[in-house]
Symmetry: C2
Subunit: 415 residues, 2 copies
């Protein structure tokens, strides 16, 4: 029996052992989906907190570990490591290449390796596959390689893995078919595409679409403000158009690990190919400048106010990169914080989802504390925040999320 048929049988009988490399928000969701579906699943992770979090679940099919040797016991290995950027916004593929090398070290004949991390088109074929092939040659093993982009939307309670269509591609037809068989076991709709690059580009496009549209509304919001037009009302009105429109909302800048990051992967790739992407570039610049605009507005407010003792104090409300999550990676709030601090402002924060950041702790919204603050910036609109407390303290209140739309107060700056 060929390697593909062997693995196929294991998948169909749920006897395939699944390995998930990286159990952050993507890997964890996937690990829960595979183990709930009935696959014995090992989550590979170096972060002890994440390992403990998963093992606390005491799931009969799921175990997290830092023991890489166990990679050898897996039939299918999904790579879910972060693909961030370096400080100069170029792609940082270190996590990915390290993961591929570790998998290579323990590579077994007939293993299927599926990359789920978001990457520029060509990465699976030109970076991941060669690493595995080299290892395979040494170990005289053969393997399957596929790319199937994660579509996990943290905080989205409506669309979980099982009901979100899954785009699947393979290095060859057997790899693709095996990957389709695997995901079919716990995802309702599989979307096979013809090449690895199509699947990689699909994920990049989804993120770029979001970034461009968010930056577009931020750009239009500046224009609207200069005319005294409330952009939020414009968006709500436009959203009544039953076709050809999708609402995106202004804010302090899109954050997180995907929307602002993937466009940099695309721009880096385009630069190498000498293709100009002016819209993506401008959207990226606009998004990057967005927190600075908010901070500048706060500084103007502070400069206009009479601080008691000269030491100006700012409170940032919501530091996670979006509502109802605890993830602060790439959050605009942090960029606002940094800029204010540079200008000599003392910065405090409140976020019910984020207890501590770099030695700071989330402040309680006590009236006494609020009375000492010179400006409040709502950067992320969590639902479980007492916005009335913020409005009642009558301090200048910069609302970047329109969460105070129902409040009328001269202290509110709607930007």
């Amino acid at each position: 029996m060929g390697l593909a048929s062997k693995l196929s049988r294991k998948i169909l009988s749920f006897k395939a052992v699944v390995g998930i490399v990286g159990v952050g928000y993507v890997g964890e969701s996937l690990a829960l989906a595979t183990s709930n579906a009935g696959f014995k699943t090992n989550g590979f992770e170096i972060d002890k907190t994440k390992i403990e979090k998963i093992n606390k679940l005491k799931h009969k099919n799921l175990k997290a570990t830092d023991d890489k040797k166990l990679l050898a016991s897996c039939d299918i290995i999904c790579i879910c490591v972060p693909t961030p950027t370096y400080k100069d916004n170029t792609p940082n593929l270190e996590y990915l290449t390290i993961a591929a090398k570790e998998i290579g070290k323990y590579l077994q004949n007939g293993q299927l390796i599926v990359l789920e991390s978001s990457v520029a088109p060509g990465t699976t074929r030109n970076i991941v596959a060669p690493i595995l092939r080299e290892a395979a040659n040494e170990r005289k093993a053969d393997f399957f390689v596929a790319f199937s982009p994660e579509r996990i939307d943290p905080g989205n309670t409506k669309y979980g893995i099982s009901i979100t269509p899954k785009v699947v591609s393979g290095l060859d037809e057997e790899s693709k078919q095996l990957t389709i068989e695997f995901y079919s076991k716990f995802v309702k709709q599989i979307v096979p595409v013809s090449t690895l690059e199509i699947a990689e580009m699909t994920k990049v496009f989804e993120n770029v679409f979001r970034l461009v549209n968010i930056s577009l509304v931020n750009e239009l919001s500046d224009f609207a403000r200069s005319l005294g037009i409330n952009m939020w009302e414009v968006i709500d009105a436009a959203a009544t158009k039953p076709y050809g429109f999708l609402a995106h909302y202004p804010g302090p800048g899109a954050g997180g690990e995907c929307i602002p990051v993937l466009p940099y992967y695309l721009l880096d790739s385009a630069k190498k190919l000498k293709v100009d992407l002016p819209i993506v570039k401008k959207a990226s610049e606009t998004n990057h400048m967005q927190p600075h605009k908010v901070a500048s507005h706060a500084l103007r407010v502070l400069n206009g106010s009479n601080s008691k003792n000269g030491q100006r104090k700012a409170l940032i409300v919501g530091v996670a990169y979006k509502g109802e999550v605890n993830d602060i990676r790439g959050s605009a709030a942090l960029a606002i914080w940094e800029k204010l601090e540079k200008e000599g402002v003392s910065v405090y924060y409140h976020d019910p989802y984020v207890e501590h950041i770099n030695g700071f702790s989330s402040k309680q919204l006590h009236p006494e504390f609020l009375s000492e603050v010179d400006v409040i910036i709502i950067a992320t609109a969590h639902k479980n925040i007492s916005y009335d407390l913020l409005v009642n303290c009558q301090k200048p209140l910069i609302d970047t999320r329109n969460v105070l739309r129902e409040f009328a107060s001269p202290h509110i700056h709607r930007i």
Copy 2:
């Protein structure tokens, strides 16, 4: 009884007489809607063909005329004139100001004037209303002014006027309420907004959203092509994401009277306000360059081919600005034509909806004629074109609309 109550009663009893100034595709659709609803309707037009077209319908409530004196007999006047740009892409408000002046000349006490034409925010308040006010002062008449943007999508058989929500705003509360009452008679959902400018900006935003997203896919399409990726397959795959994505498709450049034009109104307004709109600007530039890219591709094909007698011949298939319409205004096909002609190419066209353009006639797709052609460019994908004839003639075939996706032929250039 006040003027507003008087008009309100007339609307509720369908005794209000409606005037539509300009019965192009917007005004004609509106005139049909008001007359079908039961309002006696006069369409005002200078183009005799359009007048005849409407009067041929012999609709009991609808009449088209060039007799402006009849404006005095109307209770509600909707302005549906074109708002194009000059050659330098600045707003051409001549049709609009002429219409406002004509209406002013015959202004009656208690008339409601509704602007439906797409304009930059502030136009109704700062340009239309003052013209009417001046006339009203002279004539000792009072009037109501509103803005309610048209949302007519030519060729869209799904969303007619009655089921497309209508955004409504007024110069004052009475104007707004009367306008809501009026449109409620033939539109299911009315969306009142707080100011004229919000309504004006809503329409601009809807168009800018489309332009930016179309230009974005055109930009990404160039990138994808350089990697050998089929962008159409990428878009189809991305479109399976059940949230946060809306598909737009590549092409030779968005045409028509709205999508490429309104962004210029916005850019002009932003320039005066000294607000930078980099994304809108780049999207506009990309859209403007799109037909040139197609023409350049055709020229490269022509330069590589051996033309029999040295005179290179190109056939453009589909010259309307989009499928299933006969409107050629702003069509990318015309820009492609112009560029090819400048390079000494003889250009022919085929379009089942457009019989004649500037002395040229739509060519039949006879094999004899096709055998003389050196390159074929599909610029607009009408459904009733025999694409198999085009493929069978084995001439280089540039498909800008992916309408030949089912055909496999080495002669097809998919761009």
